[in-house]
């Protein structure tokens, strides 16, 4: 390289300064607010306190946290059960087809989450397409409640984040090479055994990355539980929003946000510590 480290520093510093001012400082402020008291009319009173964190242990809020973790876990498991075979299907197609199939899978991910979530309201409501289809098939009479519950939230999460499960698993399968994947997937008898003894262990980093990719954004999601939970079931994201905009309790909202980041950070660090960082970055690079 002709220009030295000074030139490189000049290249990276504008962006890093931007993030220092518009990412580190704002998040730091949220962290600080979580240790302050709430003013009588909203706002923040600059008196140190741990009350917000004590309050977060109230069964009411622990329940919301527990429900968020449960929904994120359910979404992750469902995505894995669908995503692994789908990734296997794509990886065993001829090379010229794989890119097209991958694009088909990823494309919806890049469209508006808000709009697709609204579409699920249209599909899942009592008079929606899903209920009419169930009636036509004679499976139900009248209608089943598909909307404004845990089921609707998980459907919304899976339809949003499933591509993030498929991509890293596909990347891991592709890295094994088509021969190995074919050999493991073929050979008729004992396909299950081969799946568990060859493909799953060898693609474990991809599977782990996919699980993190689905779990992390599901846990803190706001739009999906807000629209599909119908205000009946709160998740951390909707609770943070209501503390900020409705209850006007910024310190407590900040406390919940800090707890959320702490959980996500722990997960991501664990993933990095497991030494799978390269595969994670590769998969994200692919996704964008």
């Amino acid at each position: 390289m002709r220009r030295g480290r000074v030139g490189s520093a000049a290249l990276v510093s504008p962006a890093l300064l931007w993030w220092a001012g518009l990412l580190v400082l704002p998040v730091g402020l949220v962290l600080a607010y979580s240790f302050f008291e709430r003013g009588v009319y909203g706002g923040v009173v600059y008196d140190w306190t741990l009350d917000n964190y004590r309050r977060a242990w109230d069964p009411l809020y622990l329940g919301v946290l527990g429900f968020s973790v449960r929904v994120a876990l359910e979404s992750t498991v469902v995505s894995l059960l669908i995503g692994f075979p789908v990734a296997l299907f794509i990886a065993t197609r001829p090379a010229r087809w794989r890119t097209v199939l991958l694009v088909l899978v990823i494309l919806p991910f890049w469209t508006s989450l808000l709009i697709r979530t609204y579409a699920w309201i249209v599909i899942l409501n009592d008079e929606g397409i899903a209920n009419r289809a169930l009636r036509e098939l004679g499976l139900v009479e009248g209608s089943v409640r598909l909307l404004y519950n845990e089921f609707a939230i998980v459907v919304g999460m899976v339809s949003t984040y499933l591509p993030l499960m498929i991509l890293p698993i596909y990347a891991a399968l592709e890295r094994l090479g088509p021969e190995l994947v074919e050999a493991a997937a073929d050979l008729g008898a004992n396909a299950w055994k081969r799946l568990w003894t060859v493909l799953v262990p060898l693609t474990l980093p991809g599977i782990a990355a996919g699980c993190i990719f689905v779990f992390v954004p599901s846990l803190g999601n706001f739009i999906i539980p807000d629209l599909l939970g119908g205000g009946r079931r709160q998740m951390v994201g909707t609770l943070v929003q209501s503390q900020f905009l409705e209850a006007r309790d910024w310190p407590f909202g900040a406390t919940l946000a800090v707890s959320l980041i702490a959980m996500l950070l722990a997960l991501v660090l664990m993933q990095a510590w497991l030494g799978k960082r390269s595969s994670r970055e590769e998969a994200v690079t692919r996704a964008v």
Binding site: P26, L101, W110, S112, A185, V216, G253, A272, E281, V288
Partner: protein, 262 residues
């Protein structure tokens, strides 16, 4: 040979998954052409709701606001993200490379309250400046920089540095080398990154909702239409926004695909 049954069930699962992923999009597009405007009854094909969409002044204003925000955020992201990618490519620091992914894992609701808290403290309380489209631009550029940097850095990883050496050895200035050798080669990456940030900004709701003050962008408009009384116009609007996103993302993917083939 793997059993045909196994092969068939994998194929069926794939088709079913695509149907599941595209169902929301198909339903809204279909609904937007429904004369009755109701999801419950097909009243015949009609472009009526698109006509109402075009005549809606509030939606027009929101579309213009969205465009201003997306252009501003994209410009800033390219101006800061591209040099960052070059720097990352030279420094080859794993820590820095990892750092670029941090803005992408922070949940949007956390971003939203962090920006609201900081903007409120600095601009509203100290400077008496109300939040507006400009604050949404700053917020969107913050994650946009990361996307541009990652996409351009991938391009740089495939970049043949010997062409730069050759140009400099042949006596071209650094500026001329950058403009005539480096830039043409990485331009598709920069454009792809820009398209991705533009799309993300146009579709972004949560952060805009918290940082736009009294301004209204398209996603904010769509949210209020969905939450407080759905009119069939929202379906036409949704179909248009979905169409725009799909075209932009396909263009970005095409630009990036060419690079991988090269």
């Amino acid at each position: 040979m793997r059993s045909r049954g196994g092969e068939l069930s994998l194929g069926a699962l794939f088709v079913g998954t695509l149907a599941f992923l595209y169902l929301p999009i198909a339903v809204l597009v279909g609904l937007s052409f429904n004369e009755s405007g109701l999801p419950t009854a097909w009243g015949g094909f009609s472009t009526r709701w698109y006509g109402e969409l075009v005549r809606d002044e509030e939606i027009k204003d929101a579309a213009l606001a969205t465009l201003v925000v997306a252009l501003g955020a994209t410009t800033l992201s390219v101006l800061l993200g591209t040099p960052l990618a070059f720097g990352l490519d030279r420094l080859r620091s794993r820590t820095l490379d990892g750092l670029v992914f941090v803005p992408m894992i922070i949940p949007d609701i956390v971003y939203a309250i962090a920006f609201l808290s900081a903007f409120n403290l600095v601009f509203t309380q100290k400077l008496g400046q109300q939040l507006g489209l400009w604050s949404v631009v700053l917020a969107h550029a913050t994650f946009g920089i990361a996307f541009v940097a990652i996409v351009v850095a991938t391009r740089l990883a495939h970049f043949d540095h010997s062409t730069v050496e050759a140009s400099l050895d042949l006596g071209a200035s650094e500026l001329r080398t950058f403009l005539e050798v480096t830039l043409p080669q990485i331009a598709p990456g920069v454009i792809a990154g820009a398209l991705i940030v533009f799309t993300l900004s146009v579709d972004e709701f949560v952060i805009a909702f918290f940082t736009a003050g009294i301004e209204v962008t398209l996603p904010i408009k769509i949210y209020s239409m969905v939450r407080f009384g759905v009119t069939p116009v929202v379906n036409a609007l949704a179909a248009v926004v979905l169409g725009v996103s799909i075209v932009l993302v396909l263009a970005a993917m095409r630009l990036r695909g060419r690079e991988e083939a090269a």
